[in-house]
């Protein structure tokens, strides 16, 4: 974790804005992605995720602001900047009448350094040995997705920009993709920015999320860690034999906040810091309450997402 703090940002957006006519599609977006980090770009439909990713790859022009990749501006030094980027924007697109291998060769001829050996290496990495000779039009969406990752990785990029990388993958494929992305972020220190509609997937894959809505940054949040502040105390569900007694015992405790009591399920729910756990358990025992189970109820990313974006539709 300390390493990540010191890694310089590979991708840096500063005040990126896109206006078309009077409509502002992306509005002053700023954030960074460092090497070795997987960051999720989240937002409801039409939030501007794909537009933002298109500006990062130079497919569309920025009205204001700038994007730098490894220090080079996409605006002023496009070739140097984009040479560090591997990407899939929307769907991975290939020439359907050519084989997977020929498509990779097409990509390789547009780089300065990719050799046949590197192509073979990438094919091996993504398990495309069997498929490489077949025409892309015969590929399943999952295979196309893998070929997409293969072409994105060809020139050993410092940054991967992946728009919906799990589109069309089956559960096994999604898991494989997740493990693979985690692995390359970790071992090669690649910075990865992904957008996805599958929030649970983002939750399992990303170390941080950037949430945007109506083209603006809503929040930027670390996943897995917990922010300081009362609102972020862990929520505990405690199953007991005598919920009423438990309620009284907890209410007597100063630092533990009772949330609710459920007689039907014989449960009390409260917020307590790790440091106050011992006091809480002692208080329950002294009140003659038998504790059957204590579980932390974690808010899923989905709950939080809906909270951030005001319950807009996601999918």
């Amino acid at each position: 974790m300390t390493l990540k703090q010191t890694n310089p940002p590979v991708l840096k957006l500063s005040g990126v804005t896109k206006r078309i006519g009077k409509k502002t599609i992306v509005d002053g977006l700023s954030f960074e992605v460092r090497g070795g980090e997987i960051v999720g770009l989240l937002g409801p439909n039409g939030a501007g995720k794909t537009t933002a990713m298109r500006m990062m790859t130079g497919l569309i022009r920025m009205s204001e602001g700038d994007v730098t990749v490894a220090g080079s501006s996409i605006r002023d030094r496009f070739k140097e900047a984009i040479a560090q980027v591997g990407g899939i924007i929307e769907n991975p697109e290939f020439y359907p009448y050519m084989s997977g291998f020929d498509n990779l060769k097409q990509a390789a001829r547009m780089t300065d350094s990719v050799t046949d050996q590197r192509i073979a290496e990438v094919i091996g990495l993504l398990g495309l040995e069997e498929a490489q000779g077949k025409k892309v039009k015969t590929y399943s969406l999952g295979m196309r997705q893998r070929l997409g990752i293969a072409q994105a990785l060809l020139d050993r990029p410092k940054l991967l920009i992946l728009d919906e990388p799990n589109n069309g993958l089956d559960p096994a494929g999604i898991r494989e993709m997740r493990d693979y992305l985690k692995q390359i972020a970790h071992s090669e220190g690649i910075a990865i920015l992904v957008s996805s509609h599958l929030l649970s997937e983002i939750e399992q894959m990303c170390s941080r999320v950037v949430v945007i809505q109506n083209g603006r940054l809503v929040t930027e949040r670390k996943l897995g860690g917990r922010e300081a502040g009362a609102a972020d105390l862990p929520e505990l569900r405690i199953r007991v034999d005598k919920p009423e007694e438990a309620r009284r015992a907890i209410e007597a405790l100063e630092r533990v906040k009772l949330e609710r009591v459920s007689e039907a399920e014989s449960e009390v729910t409260c917020l307590a810091a790790d440091a106050d756990m011992a006091a809480l358990i002692d208080a329950l025992r002294l009140a003659g309450v038998t504790v059957y189970r204590i579980a932390e109820t974690r808010k899923s990313l989905e709950d939080e997402f809906l909270q951030w974006t005001g319950g807009n539709q996601i999918a």
Binding site: A83, I89, M98
Partner: protein, 252 residues
């Protein structure tokens, strides 16, 4: 330079790995052979045709009023999608998020279109030379070779004009269909002459340079040099329009 060569190689492979390329090439060869067979069958009856070798046959057939017309049509159809298809397949994104300039990419595509046109012209020439050799004999004098070369060059220039027009329309509209329609409609205007002075500045009456040897200037005051300048100006306009739009356009 190496970068450009590799980009052109990419474009060339995109053309030739499609079946339609070989269908066009074979069709061109068949038309060339077919036309030669028919010509030789009727040339006995009309002995005044003046064809005594495959080479002199070529010099009569390679222009826009002969096989050059077919080469043009096939080239227009074959190159119309060279930019538009990238948009249709979505592969334009694949192409533009590389460390190559948009100008370089469009240049490689235009050169590929020229190579395609050249290939069609050569297939036409070769098929008629071989078929013509059997029909009229393979020999040919040096002067006849020069005539044939000139006719081939005129035919190629004619194709080039309409291929460039098609390329620009395809780049601007991103539609293969509109590009083919535009290019082929252009070739049809070639036969129409409006007898007004302004018309000599229009593209169409200038496209076929062979008329200066055959029937004389389409309109008074036109010369081959004049036509070449008019063609160059139009082609430059088409390309400037295509480049300007292609380089600036947001790819959605």
């Amino acid at each position: 330079m190496l970068n450009m060569t590799k980009l052109i190689q990419n474009e060339w492979l995109k053309q030739t790995k499609k079946k339609s390329f070989w269908v066009s090439a074979i069709l061109m060869a068949l038309i060339g052979v077919g036309a030669t067979v028919i010509t030789s069958m009727f040339s006995d009856a009309s002995a005044g045709i003046g064809v005594d070798s495959a080479v002199s046959y070529l010099s009569g057939m390679m222009t826009a009023s002969g096989m050059g017309q077919f080469a043009t049509i096939l080239s227009v159809v074959g190159t119309a999608g060279i930019v538009a298809q990238e948009y249709a397949h979505g592969t334009i994104k694949f192409l533009l998020i590389r460390s190559r300039g948009r100008g370089e990419i469009l240049t490689s595509k235009y050169i590929a279109a020229l190579l395609y046109t050249l290939a069609m012209t050569l297939v036409a020439a070769l098929s008629m030379y071989i078929a013509g050799g059997f029909a009229f004999g393979f020999g040919g004098t040096g002067a006849q070779w020069l005539d044939a070369l000139q006719a081939g060059a005129y035919g190629f220039v004619y194709s080039l004009v309409y291929v460039t027009l098609t390329f620009a329309i395809g780049t601007l509209t991103r539609s293969t269909g509109v590009a083919i329609g535009g290019g082929l409609t252009g070739t049809m205007f070639g036969g129409i002459i409006i007898f007004k002075d302004f018309y000599k500045y229009v593209l169409f009456p200038n496209a076929d340079l062979a008329v200066y040897n055959q029937i004389g200037p389409p309109l008074p005051g036109m010369t081959i040099g004049f036509s070449l300048i008019v063609l160059a100006v139009y082609m430059a306009l088409f390309l400037v329009a295509g480049y300007t739009v292609f380089r600036r356009r947001d790819v959605a």
